[in-house]
């Protein structure tokens, strides 16, 4: 039994954190809001250069052959810096879906090589989300139709932009017609691929929300230390300390279920529903509480467009609803837990679903 990350995993995370800290700032995010695509091809090229897009691409397709557990800390950092680029969805959602099909489908194998090389971008649709993120910068879309998974080139779809409350997010409804040619999988295989896709999407959202929550708490702690009223920092007041302590509890304790979920998705993806839903629920609660208590701590300033806090708050509110909202995941938890065969005894520390 070992519940820690390896030295390599931690070092890689540190270097990516340094990179994001240098390249992705509140200022750069605000600038991106005013551009056509909202995305920076130069930044994407840097991430390709660092090997980030090739992490989960199998070695056979020129990737690093790593897994979801290797990436989960990085996804957390993407949240911390509110990265607008679709790195998490590319690595954690699109890539493993293509990798599951690559052995029998040369199209998927070829796309994986191109993802690793930074030559294509892929957007993923799912029934859990009514809109597709970043479809405008994608070359191909992976789209569900009933029990089928289709691969459709961008010129075969019509995108209708839907403006998001979070100005960093670019969302689209997609009009498309699949055919036998575009269908990659169907029936039981399609159902299981789509279920695994949902779990990886939810895992990625959960990881980002933990990072978002930590960043909001860090910003609020700084603000309440600097801001003086009655001649002393407002942060000396227990009312504000307790707001922040409650956030710290939620956030710190969302990490163990998050890492547990990443582990289970890696080891036994077919039985990861419980662990993933657990992670998504608690990470969502952590991010929403951090948003609520942070804006309260910032006072009126936090309600302004000028204050950077809303970048993180709006991302949290969006991700909490994406890849299954809290109600969806809570229902999965109690349905599993209260079924007659649930393994919930005192001896089941790691018993349930791996």
């Amino acid at each position: 039994m070992d519940f820690t990350f390896t030295e390599d995993q931690l070092l890689f995370c540190e270097s990516v954190k340094d990179f994001l800290q240098g390249e992705v700032t509140a200022e750069s995010i605000r600038k991106s809001w005013d551009t056509d695509t909202g995305r920076s091809s130069a930044l994407w090229a840097q991430m390709v250069e660092l090997g980030l897009t090739s992490m989960l691409v199998p070695e056979a397709q020129g990737g690093l052959g790593m897994n979801e557990l290797d990436f989960v800390l990085l996804a957390q950092e993407c949240g911390r810096y509110a990265l607008p680029e679709p790195l998490v969805e590319t690595v954690l959602v699109a890539t493993p879906l293509l990798a599951s099909l690559a052995d029998n489908d040369p199209r998927c194998a070829s796309l994986l090589e191109k993802i690793a090389a930074g030559e294509v971008m892929i957007a993923v649709g799912h029934a859990a989300n009514n809109l597709v993120c970043d479809a405008h910068v994608a070359d191909y879309l992976l789209l569900p139709k009933g029990d089928q998974v289709h691969l459709v080139a961008k010129d075969q779809v019509v995108l209708v932009a839907q403006q998001s409350v979070d100005p960093s997010r670019r969302l689209f409804s997609v009009e498309w017609q699949g055919n036998d040619e575009t269908c990659l999988a169907s029936g039981a295989e399609g159902v299981s691929l789509l279920a695994a896709t949902l779990n990886r999407g939810a895992l990625g959202a959960a990881a980002q929300m933990v990072g978002l929550a930590e960043q909001m708490v860090a910003m609020s702690v700084q603000y309440t230390t600097d801001r003086l009223q009655f001649g002393k920092p407002i942060g000396v007041n227990q009312a504000l300390k307790h707001h922040m302590a409650n956030c710290a509890v939620k956030t710190e304790f969302a990490k163990a279920p998050l890492y547990r979920a990443a582990y289970t998705v890696t080891q036994d993806p077919a039985r990861a529903d419980f662990a993933v839903s657990h992670a998504k629920v608690v990470a969502g609660e952590a991010a929403l509480l951090a948003a609520k208590n942070s804006i309260q701590s910032f006072g009126a300033m936090g309600y302004t467009w000028e204050c950077d806090l809303h970048i993180w708050m709006k991302r949290s509110w969006a991700l909490d609803k994406f890849w299954g909202h809290a109600g969806f995941h809570k229902n999965r938890l109690h349905q599993w837990l209260l079924n007659p065969n649930a393994k919930i005894g005192a001896e089941m520390t790691f018993g349930e679903q791996v």
């Binding site: 519940f3 000396v236 547990r260 109690h334």
Partner: protein, 399 residues
Amino acid sequence: MKLNFSAEDELFRNEVATWLEENLTGEFEQLRFRGGPGDEHMFPEERKKWEQKLAEGGWTCVGWPKEHGGRGCSIEQQVIFNEEYARAGAPGHVGHIGEGLAGPTIIAFGTEEQKKKYLPGIVAGKELWCQGYSEPSAGSDLANVKTKARLNEETGKWIINGQKVWTSLAQEADYCFVIARTDPGSVAHKGLGFFLIKMDQPGVDVRPIQQITGTSEFNEVFFDDAECEADDIVGAPGEGWKVAMGLLGFERGVSTLGQQMQFQNELNEIIRIAKDNGANKDPIIRQRIAKAHTELKIMRYNSMRMLSAQGGSDGGLQKEALIYKLFWATWHRDMGELAMDVMGPESQILDNGDYALTRLQSMYLFVRSDTIYGGTNEIQRNIIAERGLGMPKEPKVKA
């Protein structure tokens, strides 16, 4: 990361399970699922005998190093031991304060003589301990200790005077570890000593406090010229606070494992009742059960995470350890409410006229103390904000 147990560990599991199956029988049968928090006053004599039975099998102090009489179990084995112990419904350890707190503190900070004098009694399950920290005017402000310790130059003994309060299991204990002021002019955490005091002596008076459960687990302990030997002080005079805080680290380490398994037993009892009486059909109850279960999972995962990060060493509190007390206390209090809501109006009815509470009724009332003792939720939040997050400290009021 590797979240399962090795084949060797599973063999150890069989060994624990088999021993419990063979020994938790006969006179000990009645102890199953008894003696936990809120139930500490039950079956003290039988539980002392059980403690010695455990000792015979080598199942006390399983995590202590072998050189100090422990079993030298790895973290994995300790997890498994606690899992199987709870699964069998084996009773709450009446010796847990010695095994979990006094012993590890003496191992970490004590002299060779102190180790020889005190550890064997704990390992044998024969000598029980209690904790003399809180006082009438040292509650949240724990360092405001008034109890005094003075070295009598003639007899060479320490003389202790003062009062402790909320002392669990003092009525059963053979020894008490006491923080007392060795430097008469000192204030706050400076000038304290950490003493090991025999309970059975004329200068020590234990008075039970009746709780809202109608029973008495907590006590007041009065020291009126109580004595201990010159070398019954752990650390130097004036260094007691360091030792006292080191001890709190043990409270949040390995000893959390047993507590969590016990929580799981309580929760599973609630789930069983819900399935029996149909409360499990209620959507709100279902959500609350799921919340309780998943939050307990968080505690268990987090202990694993913390312990594997430390490689089993038990010192040095990390950020998540600061958070733990607030989390489990709040969780347990909420679970008490859940238990009563699952039982519905029946939860308010006693079985007979002697104010005899059922196990869950007793738990429901007892958990009201969880968010208060060992540092209130409010104090915990201050500590998390100031020490964990680095928020500005409140200016100290000059005395």
